[in-house]
């Protein structure tokens, strides 16, 4: 959309103007996750944008150095809090890589199921919020309805809607409920039809299209240089997805496509996320077919890392000792360092962890995918108008807990 009043020259007197500085955030409804943007504008046009992150600093990495390895899981829930299960699984994945644990087949499928459910909620939230910030409230409510379906299912499985703390080193807190597959059979079609409807609401809407198309463009080459990953990178046309490029869990046994965009603008990011939800639903359908119905969830041969069963804890001294040692001192992860990475909601979610062989992490460093997208925000928005900050910021899907950690 071209600014209409840009060339109008009302007076002959050319008054010298100073750029106006405007602070958006940190407490601004559209700056979700508490971000401040200092924008300099010339009229409505942005001449300079300065992104300040760090208002939500929780000290995630430092906190991890205080507890045991298992006590990090609740912290990871609060990284990307719209898809906590993916962070749970990502952290478990990294620690298992360091401790050289091969998790059980059933656990792999279970993690994929819960992870893909979480991915759908992540993308639903992002797209819904993006539309809402453009004034389209109905699509927001519509998509959040789909999210409710998934959260209900996740709650049935894990006991919590959002902060599941469900993954464990070497397995999961609990085995799948007997109803999992039946419930997936209900939830998948319900979510699919809601996504269909929400697309109908938006994709013919002139306002939505005008505000999204051609705004916040990023080229593929530059996106790679900035370190983008995930849906935002794919929207520029680069088909990098950790699940395909470095398959983990059982992603190599699943049939799914990696959608890519063409121009890397807001609209493409929206579409890529939409398509990824369909792909996740496709994977879930395959999981219903292929996931084994019985078998252990936790690895059996690593008693120094995996908690014993509760019935043993309460009735045998060996179980009590094992429980005591693991809870009070923590599982001793072999000394070394490792970078474990998975496809999180926003892209490559990496944990660089260092162990000195004790029950407490020596260092946990996270690679939060949205930091890399957010840092290039000034580059994406330059030359656009103030109002474009909002949908573009929405399409970045900055999650404060993960970005500022």
């Amino acid at each position: 959309m071209e600014p209409t009043d840009y060339d109008i020259d009302e007076s002959e007197l050319d008054l010298p103007t100073e750029p106006m500085r405007l602070a958006m955030g940190p407490s601004h409804p559209a700056m979700h996750g508490t971000i401040r943007m200092m924008v300099e504008c010339d009229g409505e046009m942005l001449t300079k944008v300065d992104v300040e992150m760090g208002f939500l600093h929780r000290g995630f990495e430092k906190m991890c150095e205080r507890g045991t390895w298992a006590q990090c899981f609740p912290y990871t829930d609060r990284l990307n809090y719209v898809s906590p299960m993916l962070c749970n699984v990502g952290f478990a994945h990294a620690v298992e890589k360091l401790a050289d644990i091969e998790i059980t087949e059933r656990c792999k499928w279970y993690r994929v199921v819960l992870g893909e459910l979480a991915r759908i909620t992540d993308h639903l939230t992002c797209n819904a919020a993006m539309a809402m910030e453009l004034g389209a409230f109905t699509p927001f409510l519509w998509m959040v309805r789909a999210r409710e379906h998934i959260w209900d299912l996740l709650e049935e499985e894990t006991g919590a809607r959002l902060t599941h703390s469900f993954a464990r080193i070497g397995g999961m807190a609990k085995p799948p409920t007997p109803l999992l597959k039946a419930r997936l059979g209900e939830v998948i079609p319900a979510v699919r039809s809601i996504i269909d409807e929400s697309m109908k609401l938006l994709l013919k809407n002139r306002i939505f299209l005008d505000r999204m198309q051609g705004v916040g463009v990023m080229s593929a080459a530059e996106a790679v240089q900035w370190g983008w990953t995930g849906p935002t990178l794919r929207s520029t046309g680069v088909a990098y997805d950790v699940r395909k490029a470095h398959p983990y869990l059982v992603y190599d046994q699943l049939d799914f496509d990696v959608p890519v965009g063409e121009r890397g603008d807001n609209y493409d990011r929206y579409l890529v996320r939409n398509e990824e939800m369909y792909q996740s639903l496709r994977m879930l359908e395959q999981c219903v077919q292929k996931m084994p119905d019985d078998g252990p969830i936790n690895v059996a041969d690593r008693p120094e890392i995996v908690l014993p069963e509760k019935k043993d804890v309460y009735t045998t001294i060996e179980g009590t000792i094992q429980h005591f040692k693991l809870v009070m001192e923590g599982a001793k992860i072999p000394a070394g360092e490792v970078y474990g990475f998975t496809e999180g909601g926003n892209g490559e979610l990496g944990f660089y962890i260092v162990s000195d062989g004790t029950g407490t992490p020596y260092r946990v460093r996270i690679r939060p995918p949205c930091v890399f997208v957010l840092q290039s925000f000034p580059r994406m928005i330059r030359g656009h108008m103030i109002a474009d900050v909002v949908p573009t910021f929405g399409s970045v899907n900055m999650i404060g807990g993960e970005c500022d950690r």
């Binding site: 008693p303 043993d312 001294i317 060996e318 009590t320 000792i321 094992q322 009070m328």
Partner: protein
């Protein structure tokens, strides 16, 4: 110095050393329960079994039947006869396999399993939990669960051994360290072992109780939670405590001690001996162990000066303490009477002001007593009181 080899590593030894002592001096731990550096060798727990070959000597081999997974049958096999490292004496050129031998690993695992067969599920209520050898060695050497599913043997619990010590026969592994301590160090053979096998337990000599100046040490020689002091029992969980090096303030011997304190409250629930062969060896007397009480009793913890509200000293010092960097706060290696406590400003030796306050209190008390005794101030005394005083 002559050397032996343990797992390929050269270990110097002095004449007469056992393998475990030579290893211990070099900081190598061979798992053990009944051996204590300050006591005689009993070699009854069998946890320290190692594979030993002596120069020129032939290794003794035993015929055993071992399960063969492929043949699905027991097949005859040979295995080396293991020896207790706490008893086998070092000789030049001896080669010992400890962690590197599968036979030793199996022996440790089996011994550990047997020791736990009748052990009660007590960790949650046991004061030893967190510093218990049974827990440590289970994780290091066993890692499997029980195979015996029968009801364990039940024995007396919470037996009062004396004014200081409580005994739990179910937790006892009958290593006899406590028996040997009382006999050899305290010189009062008041503890003894009765019965055999599953049924054995430690009892008091007939008609006696555990008394004297060295009773609390039995708690510290006990590798498990069978003996606990009535002083520390149920007072704290050890994983909440931090330790700091200290010297016992009890007498001029200056026994080296560990001061265990609770960083959250600033309390000091116990003092325990710290090895120093030149001063106190491994031991401390009851008075010394209990001196932590004296240091905490009757301290000035509130400030009351004219026109000010009293501020809690302990809360203030705790606040000050909280802001310190973790490395200093742990302060574990500081050597000072009452170590880290001094750093927190709470448990330092008595301040002159505290002494002055006590003296003042004493003076006031004396004055009150004096007043009561002064007949001029109190008027005529009843007859019987005067008679009583006259007699005394």
């Amino acid at each position: 110095m002559p050397v032996i080899k343990i797992d390929g590593r050269e270990i110097p030894f002095e004449k007469g050393d056992s393998i475990i002592r030579a290893a211990d001096r070099q900081g190598i731990e061979i798992p053990h329960y009944c051996w204590h550096p300050g006591l005689s060798v009993a070699a009854n727990c069998r946890m320290c079994l190692v594979e030993v070959s002596r120069p020129g000597g032939r290794q003794l081999m035993l015929d055993v039947l071992a399960w063969d997974e492929e043949k699905k049958a027991y097949v005859p096999q040979k295995k080396p006869k293991l020896e207790p490292a706490c008893q086998a004496e070092c000789v030049e050129g001896m080669e010992v396999k400890s962690d590197s031998s599968p036979h030793v690993a199996l022996a440790r695992k089996s011994v550990q399993e047997l020791l736990l067969v009748n052990h009660p599920v007590d960790c949650p209520i046991c004061d030893q939990a967190g510093e218990c050898k049974l827990q440590d060695y289970w994780l290091e050497n066993q890692k499997t669960s029980k195979r015996m599913l029968d009801e364990p043997v039940h024995k007396p619990k919470a037996v009062i051994f004396g004014d200081t010590i409580v005994y739990d026969a179910e937790r006892c592994i009958v290593c006899t360290r406590c028996v040997r301590f009382m006999e050899e160090v305290a010189g009062d053979a008041v503890l003894e072992k009765r019965e055999r096998g599953n049924l054995s337990e430690i009892v008091l000599a007939a008609g006696r109780k555990l008394e004297g100046h060295y009773t609390m040490m039995v708690d510290h020689v006990c590798p498990v939670g069978a003996l606990t002091t009535r002083d520390f029992r149920f007072k704290a969980r050890v994983w909440f405590l931090r330790k700091s090096k200290t010297i016992c303030p009890g007498c001029a011997t200056g026994c080296n001690a560990w001061l265990d304190y609770d960083p959250r409250t600033g309390e000091v629930p116990r003092l325990r001996p710290r090895d120093n062969t030149d001063v106190n060896k491994y031991w401390m007397c009851d008075d010394g162990i209990l001196s932590h009480r004296r240091v905490q009793q009757d301290r000035v913890t509130a400030r009351a000066s004219a026109g000010r509200t009293p501020a809690s000293r302990s809360r203030r010092s705790r606040r000050r303490f909280r802001g310190r960097p973790a490395a200093r706060r742990q302060g574990q290696d500081r050597l000072h009477p009452l170590g880290a406590a001094r750093e927190r400003g709470q448990l330092r030796p008595r301040h002159p002001g505290e002494e002055a306050r006590r003296q003042g209190a004493l003076r006031r008390q004396a004055a009150r007593v004096g007043r009561r005794r002064d007949p001029a101030r109190q008027g005529p005394q009843p007859e019987h009181a005067r008679r009583h005083r006259g007699r005394g």
